[in-house]
Symmetry: C2
Subunit: 332 residues, 2 copies
C-alpha cells in the first residue's frame, strides 16, 4: 500500500495485540497470582492454561499504542501504527481492525513463524482490568520496522513503555524517538504500567529528562517513576522534566502540567456505568494527541482525552465503538 507520509499527524509505535476479554472475580485473580490493574507477560504455556481457566470471552483488537492510533483516527486525525503481527488469523484481525479505523498500518514484514500476540484481559466487578500478555511476534519489532520517512514527517511519534521489556523493540523505540527529534518533531511516551516503570526506572527517568516532550502516566505510574507515594510531588517533578505531562487520575479526571507552568485540571466525563476500564489511558492519549496536533490548547486537548476515555470505559474492549468525531461534535 503506497502511503502519503505527508498526511500523518501521529505515528504510534507499540505492541500489536488482540485482546481476549473476560469477566472474572477477585478470587480468580488471586488464584492465578495476578496483581489487579497491572500487566504481566506470560509465555505460550501459561497463556494456554489461563485461557482454559477463563470464562467466556470476546476478542477485540488492542495493544496500547495501537488503541491510541485507532482513537486518533476515530476523531478524524491522521495516525499511523508501527508494530508486528504474524501471518495468522489474529494478525489478519488486528490488521483489518486498525486499517478499518483509518489508521495507516503497513508492516514491512509478516512472519510466518510465531503467532500474533494476545492479551488475556480479566475485568473484575469494579470494572478494573488486569492483563496477561503473550507477546508472540510482537516482541520481534526491530529498528528496521521503523519507517524513518513516516516518523520524520509526522508531528508526533508516540511510544509505548511496554516495548521497553524487549531489547530489540526498545531499540526500535529509540530509533523512532531519534528520528523524530532529529526532524524537529515531538516525542510522546506512555509509562504504560507501574511494574513496567519499576523494571526500567532509570532509563524511563532519563527518557523523561532528556528525550520525551509529552509524557502520559496514571497515578501509580508517575509515582513509580519518581519513587514517591505523593502524587503532587511526582507531578511537580515531571513538570521540571517534560514540556507537557498528562497525568490521568481515573474518576478524578486528569491534570496537565507543563514546563511553561501550566497546571490544568480536567474533570472526568460522566459515564452512566463504567463497564471495563481497558484502554482508558490509551484513549485519553488519543484524544489529547488528536487535539494537540490539531492545534487546540492543552485544556481543549485534555477534554477530548477525557471524552475518548469515557467512551471506551462504557463498554467491554479497548477500542472505541462509536465514532469519536461524532461525540466530539456534541461537546464542542
Amino acid at each position: 500500500m503506497a502511503h502519503d507520509t505527508q498526511a500523518v499527524d501521529v505515528v504510534c509505535i507499540g505492541n500489536a495485540i488482540v485482546d481476549v476479554l473476560s469477566h472474572a472475580d477477585d478470587a480468580f485473580l488471586e488464584e492465578h497470582g495476578m496483581v489487579k490493574g497491572t500487566m504481566r507477560l506470560i509465555d505460550a504455556e501459561s497463556a494456554h492454561a489461563l485461557y482454559a481457566a477463563m470464562g467466556p470471552a470476546v476478542e477485540s483488537s488492542g495493544g496500547s499504542a495501537a488503541n491510541t492510533a485507532a482513537g486518533i483516527a476515530s476523531f478524524g486525525g491522521r495516525a499511523a501504527f508501527i508494530g508486528k503481527v504474524a501471518n495468522d488469523l489474529l494478525g489478519e484481525v488486528f490488521t483489518h481492525d486498525i486499517r478499518a479505523t483509518g489508521v495507516l498500518f503497513d508492516p514491512r514484514e509478516l512472519p510466518d513463524d510465531g503467532a500474533t500476540g494476545r492479551c488475556f484481559v480479566l475485568v473484575t466487578p469494579d470494572a478494573q482490568r488486569t492483563m496477561n500478555t503473550f507477546l508472540g511476534v510482537s516482541s520481534y519489532l526491530s529498528p528496521r520496522d521503523v519507517d524513518e520517512e513516516l516518523v520524520a514527517a509526522a508531528q508526533v511519534v508516540y511510544c509505548e513503555g511496554y516495548l521497553w521489556d524487549e531489547p530489540v523493540a526498545k531499540q526500535a523505540l529509540r530509533k523512532g524517538m531519534d528520528v523524530a527529534r532529529d526532524a524537529g518533531k515531538k516525542v510522546a511516551f506512555t509509562l504504560s504500567d507501574p511494574f513496567c516503570v519499576d523494571r526500567h526506572r532509570d532509563e524511563f527517568l532519563e527518557l523523561a529528562e532528556h528525550r520525551v516532550d509529552i509524557l502520559f502516566a496514571n497515578e501509580p505510574e508517575i509515582c513509580a517513576l519518581y519513587a514517591t507515594e505523593a502524587w503532587e510531588e511526582a507531578a511537580r517533578r515531571v513538570s521540571e522534566h517534560c514540556e507537557i505531562a498528562c497525568l490521568t487520575r481515573s474518576e478524578k479526571g486528569s491534570v496537565i502540567v507543563s514546563a511553561a507552568g501550566d497546571h490544568i485540571e480536567i474533570p472526568a466525563f460522566p459515564v452512566d456505568e463504567v463497564i471495563d476500564t481497558t484502554g482508558a489511558g490509551d484513549l485519553y492519549a488519543a484524544g489529547f494527541l488528536y487535539g494537540y496536533t490539531a492545534g487546540r490548547g492543552l485544556e481543549a486537548a485534555g477534554r477530548l482525552g477525557a471524552l475518548a476515555a469515557s467512551e471506551v470505559i462504557s463498554h467491554l474492549g479497548a477500542r472505541p465503538e462509536r465514532r469519536l468525531a461524532e461525540l466530539a461534535e456534541v461537546i464542542e
Copy 2:
C-alpha cells in the same frame, strides 16, 4: 470429556459460528445488497470482500442455538450444544466460550479441512443487526453428530431453523426431533429468520403442526409462516398447532399462546440504551427454556426470557456478559 447425560435439561442443535460484529450505516447495507434485520448465507469469497469493506469489528462466539445454550447455562441451567467446528483458531474460540459458560459441548469429530463458520454482523444506528453468514464446516453437521443418548435424556431438544438450509444438517435436526419424541421429550424449534421461513414454509408448517411442541418466532417470522400480514391471525393459527408458542415482538414484549388456551402478554424489560439486538431472540428462548425446564409457569418463564433478552441487547454481541442467574435473583 466424559459427560453426565442425566444432567442435561436442554440440548440445543444449531450452527457453530463466531460472530464478527461491526457498526455500519444503512447506506452500507444497501450498497452491499443486504436486507436489514435478516440473515443471508455468503461464500468464502464474499466473506473476504465484505470483511475488507467493513469497519473495525469485535469477535464474539455466536450461532443462534449456541447462544441459547449459553444463556441457559448462564441462568444455571444444564444445557448441551451440538454443532460443528473445525480444528482452527475460531473453532478453539467457539469451544472455549461455550464450555466456559458451562455448556456441555463434546463434538464427535473436528474436521481439519475447512474453516469454522463466521457471521459478519452489521449493527446499524437503530441497534438492528443484519447478518452475513459464512457457514464453513458448520454446514457439515450430520445425523451421526447427534448423540441419541444425550438427546433422549434431556427434557427438551431445541433446534435452529437456520440448519434447514443444509440438507444433511436438516437430517441431523430431524434425527434430534425424532429421538426426543420417541423418548417422550419436548421438541422446541425457532423459525430463525423470515427469509428462512420463506425458503422452507411447507416443511416448517408441517413441523409446527406435527412435530414441534414449543415454537419461538418473532413477528416477521410467524407472519411469514402463515403467509399473512396480520400478526393476530398468525398467533391464533399457531396456537392451534403447537402446544406452546412464544411470539416475540421486540420493544412490545412477547406473547405466549398455548393449545390449552393461554394468551399471556409479557412486557419487554426496560433497557437504558439498546446497543445491539443481536441474540435477542436466542436469549429470550434461553430464559424461557430455563424457566420451563425448571418447572416455572409460562408467565414466569417468559419473564426470564424478557430479562435475558434485555441483557444481551444492552451491549455488542449475542452472548450474555453478565451472569443471568444473578440478574434473575434481583427480579425474583
